[in-house]
């Protein structure tokens, strides 16, 4: 078991994704009606095995609403946010206003009260326009909110869930300078004193840190117990001793802030422990699975968004008397990439539906994340080639997608890690 964990984190280099945690195989708590056939084809017979691209009316409306919002409110700011490495405050505010930051949170706590699949669709639509905004939304929904909903005491939920749905961003802090993949070797320690703990240490690569109001910090209460001492603490931003360092200057996802954190005798009351003492490692493993599908959705949206910007250009650009789209060499490449994107979409949607149905989904989630990230890399690289010289300039959005995609094969479990995890499942399948 320990070997599996260590192996899983071996070559994991956490860049801008903090670790969250949720128990593996958690069920979605919202109810969902049987998917209708997409309502713009009413003549189709409703089959009992609808295609994967079938959405409930609610999911369809959500997706349309987010698409419109992203086009009108986010698209105009994407280039500037990337250039300045700064998420626009208005964008953050409108994400909350639109209910996109508390998708699965119960309306009792100010959330939207919708389903996991809706979150996936939202992340995909946002990523088509800006993968940095998508990752902000993904972390909040699939990591921070899920942790509070699953592990929070009534008092903790009361204090935080409402704020998380309406105006406060959360950050998850696991990685350190000396422990990325080898996450359980983290050194940040929490010493118990009476009814509070004192946290000392530092974290690296923490997403959302620039704007977060609450930090979920993984610290070890008993280093001699190894990973079994890892505990999750809720630390408010204004706690004395917590220092948020200067954000990283990154290749891609630049509008998403990634900062180092320093803990200098940070006092945290006992009641701020999320879940149980020494169970942090379990939460970390469990979190991977759901978050993985979110990243798959982000990479999928990235690839589709890039593709959607490029194909119209190939239909317009004329060389040697015909559209460059009409050259067979181009057509074959374009069709190949379109097929890869479709396959990535089906893997992602299926993994999401499996999770919602309460069935095992870990292998499928790995496949979705690994494949979508690879497809994003292929798509963006090809798109720049198809655009020619203009693809290489910042005047067109293509080069940004190219830079943004690279993190997909790295964070939330590198490609190698995903493959090894899948292999373990495959091995077991042939055990009988």
């Amino acid at each position: 078991y320990i070997f599996l964990l260590l192996f899983v984190f071996q070559s994991f280099k956490q860049l801008s994704r903090p670790w969250g945690a949720c128990q593996a195989g958690w069920r979605s708590t919202s109810s969902r009606s049987v998917p209708d056939v997409a309502s713009h084809h009413p003549a189709e017979v409703v089959s009992s095995f609808p295609p994967l691209q079938t959405y409930t009316e609610e999911e369809g409306m959500m997706r349309e609403a987010v698409k419109k919002y992203a086009q009108e409110r986010i698209a105009p700011l994407v280039s500037q946010m990337d250039e300045n490495s700064q998420m626009d405050k208005e964008v953050i505010k409108s994400l909350f206003e639109q209910g996109l930051m508390g998708i699965e949170i119960d309306p009792e706590y100010g959330g939207t009260g919708s389903s996991f699949f809706t979150s996936i669709l939202v992340i995909e639509e946002l990523a088509k326009v800006d993968p940095s905004v998508a990752v902000l939304c993904d972390i909040q929904n699939t990591l921070i909110n899920t942790l509070f909903v699953k592990l929070g005491t009534p008092a903790q939920k009361e204090k935080y869930l409402n704020r998380l749905s309406t105006d406060m961003i959360g950050s998850f802090c696991l990685s350190e300078a000396e422990s990325g993949s080898d996450a359980f070797a983290l050194k940040t320690r929490a010493e118990k004193h009476k009814d509070y703990y004192v946290i000392n240490g530092s974290k690296m690569w923490i997403s959302n840190a620039e704007h977060a109001g609450v930090f979920l910090v993984m610290a070890n209460v008993d280093l001699s117990a190894g990973y079994r001492g890892i505990t999750c603490f809720i630390v408010d931003r204004d706690t004395e001793g917590l220092e948020i360092g200067k954000k990283e200057n990154k290749l891609g996802l630049r509008a998403s802030s990634t900062c180092p954190l320093n803990f200098d005798n940070v006092k945290v009351p006992e009641k701020n422990i999320l879940g149980e003492i020494g169970h942090g490692y379990k939460y970390a493993i469990g979190m991977l699975n759901e978050g993985r599908i979110g990243i798959a959705a982000q990479m999928l949206g990235l690839a589709q968004g890039c593709f959607d910007h490029t194909v119209p250009y190939t239909r317009q650009r004329v060389q040697f008397g015909k559209r460059i789209f009409d050259f067979q060499g181009m057509q074959h490449q374009i069709a190949h990439v379109a097929t890869q994107i479709e396959a990535a979409r089906l893997l992602t949607y299926n993994a999401a539906r499996l999770k919602e149905a309460g069935r095992t989904f870990i292998k499928e989630a790995c496949m979705a994340k690994y494949f979508s990230a690879e497809v994003a890399t292929l798509t963006t690289s090809k798109c720049i080639e198809w655009m020619g010289g203009v693809g290489f300039t910042k005047d067109y959005p293509i080069e940004k997608y190219y830079r943004d995609c690279k993190i997909g094969t790295i964070y939330e479990g590198t490609t190698n890690i995903q493959l090894s995890t899948m292999a373990k499942f495959i091995d077991k399948e042939y055990n009988v």
Partner: protein, 254 residues
């Protein structure tokens, strides 16, 4: 006063879609084409919801005439804040021939049935550009009308309106009940937020047929042909004003 407002919302081809004429010239291609709520109807819904938020009216009822898919349009209105919907089921040939006269008869019947205090419509639909339904509805009900409204304020049982007209802005005061049609600058419609889409699921949409309202939807108009506008011809340059006059006379324009 019931405090009830009827808002008409029409399902039209999305404004961003490139329109194509059917090969048989009987109409435009609608199959598989993206549809959405008419932009001026969105403005009307927004105004109604704003009035409700200011507590000047009590209930917003969204109405749409059309086939099953019109319910999507009503759902969008519900997600923007309307309280309930009425879907007037018109499909097939009847739907193809549905025009302002029949719709205004339907709206007039509904207004009486629902005891509406106000009817809010978009000034026109972006597919037929008729700009008639509001005016006809008011005439059928013998109600005052405030069309091309760019500002609306309720004052007791009267309405102050600013209308956008060719010469500028016209300020009028009309009695209620009344029909108002919304122009572009009346407001900026809100997005349907995700929580509101969820809430809209619980709101009711009633379905009725035109016959239930005693309305005959037979059309008095017959579409003979639909064709694309003529291709734009190249212009020509002239050296002097005299040349221009000669050319204009040659083309039979003068």
């Amino acid at each position: 006063m019931s405090g009830r407002v009827l808002v008409g919302v029409k399902r039209v081809i999305d404004y961003a879609v490139k329109i194509r004429v059917k090969p048989d010239n009987t109409g435009v291609v609608t199959d598989g084409v993206k549809h959405s709520m008419n932009p001026f109807c969105e403005i009307a819904v927004e105004e109604a919801v704003k009035l409700k938020e200011k507590k000047l009216i009590k209930e917003v009822v969204a109405v749409s005439c059309g086939p099953q898919q019109s319910q999507e349009t009503i759902r969008t209105a519900l997600a923007m804040g309307a309280d309930r919907g009425i879907h007037v089921d018109v499909s097939g040939k009847d739907y193809e021939n549905l025009g302002p006269l029949q719709v205004s008869k339907i709206l007039a019947a509904l207004a009486k049935q629902e005891d509406a205090q106000l009817i809010l419509l978009g000034k026109q639909a972006i597919d037929d550009d008729c700009n008639q339904t509001g005016q006809m509805t008011a005439a059928l009900l013998d109600w005052p009308q405030g069309t091309f409204a760019s500002e609306v304020s309720l004052e007791g049982d009267k309405i102050n309106l600013v209308r956008e007209i060719d010469g500028g802005l016209e300020h009028i005061k009309i009695n209620t009940p009344a029909v108002i049609t919304a122009d572009l600058r009346l407001n900026t419609p809100r997005y349907a937020t995700l929580p509101n889409i969820m809430k809209a699921k619980k709101k009711k949409i009633a379905t009725v047929k035109p016959a239930d309202l005693g309305v005959d939807v037979t059309s008095r108009l017959e579409v003979l042909k639909v064709e694309e506008p003529p291709q734009r011809q190249a212009g020509m340059k002239v050296e002097t004003v005299e040349d221009l006059v000669v050319k204009l006379k040659e083309a039979g324009r003068v």
